[in-house]
Symmetry: C2
């Protein structure tokens, strides 16, 4: 049987122009660390972004994601100090040219972005009655990451920059933001208007790394290593 | 200083209609377990979906995600057996009415969907030179989950159903799909055309669980429990 060239006659697909928009927002999304504008995001916009995150898939419909909106400069300063501490430790792992290159990187916009957002996972939440996470309990945290990505794409469509700061100790975040021990800080984001988005990832632009071609990472039927021998 | 009602004069936002499209695809995305059509997805469409996944953010631009496209019925039958095994164990944890309700749920479309897709994380991949994941090494796996969500949204725009099967032992997947020990199976997806998408999540439709309101999960400045006392 030959492959059909057309989708089924009854198709719930979006219109072609709408599909292009979705692909375009996916390609245009960037991790933003510089260029945040001081204007705060209007509350209705922030609510739209949070709703997009909340609409993410979750294992067993458990909706484990929790969101802390941080505008206080005092709190952001504490988080920034925690970043600086973790970043000094990270820097110490590099040597030679990589060390100097790392030291010159701008890796966060905690103080410039008027809003920070800490996204958490409450994996002990009983909503969903445990469905789907007995074999892979980590799917609770995965659900929260899906929420992050929904918000990231919605923000790009709104012209709002998002930067994910992963150089932060979860325990430091717990202390600063009064997060209980059983709740997992998954993502710490800087959010704000920007006047432009880069055409390429920041780490590519500054020569830290280059993107790999798609064909390097796709396999048929079973896994086959394509690493260099 | 009062909050501005308008975004900055120079704004890289998408047009209003385009933003609406992005929000609409986010809201219309469903976890699909039933109703897959037998027509295979054309290769160019599948490539568009995989490229959307590959365009996801990744910590340090490490791009750790790997994709196994599975069409072989023999392999899907093995995965389906592994699902049945894990699902029997899951069922045994429920009692009474929940047990009967769980037993009646349709939780996967492994054999009906003509394509399955296993999405993996190669966290030992040296691309990115370790940037951003010394403090939170789990961000490698989180990057792969972002890829899953990109693909899920692109698929919805294309009218393609996606169901995430989490009731599968990662070790069973490693054996069936020849995945090395250092590579983490993150998501096992069923992909295919469907003739419709539900208006609400399947688990809500069948009465397993209901969605929580957004205001229950948003906090200001620090975490505050809103659980029932």
């Amino acid at each position: 049987m030959s492959q059909p060239l057309q989708p089924p006659a009854v198709s719930p697909a979006f219109a072609e122009g709408e599909r292009d928009t979705v692909y375009r927002v996916i390609r245009a999304r960037r991790d933003v660390r510089r260029g945040f504008l001081p204007e705060p995001l209007p509350d209705p916009l922030l609510t739209r972004l949070l709703r997009a995150a909340h609409d993410a898939p979750s294992v067993g419909l458990m909706q484990p994601s929790r969101f802390i909106v941080i505008r206080s400069l005092a709190i952001r300063r504490q988080v920034h100090s925690a970043f600086q501490h973790a970043n000094q430790q990270a820097l110490a792992k590099y040597q030679g040219e990589r060390h100097d290159q790392y030291a010159a990187l701008k890796l966060e916009g905690i103080l410039e972005a008027p809003q920070n957002l800490c996204i958490l996972c409450d994996a002990e939440n009983e909503q969903g009655h445990g469905l789907g996470r007995q074999t892979m309990p980590q799917t609770a945290v995965y659900s929260t990451v899906c929420a992050v990505q929904n918000l990231w794409l919605a923000a790009r469509a709104e012209g709002v920059g998002v930067g994910w700061v992963s150089i932060l100790s979860p325990d430091a975040l717990r202390t600063i933001l009064s997060i209980p021990a059983h709740i997992t800080p998954v993502a710490y984001l800087c959010l704000g208007y920007v006047d432009s988005f880069g055409d390429e990832p920041e780490l590519e632009r500054v020569g830290w790394e280059r993107r790999a071609p798609l064909e390097n990472v796709v396999f048929e039927e079973t896994y086959t290593s394509r690493e260099k021998p």
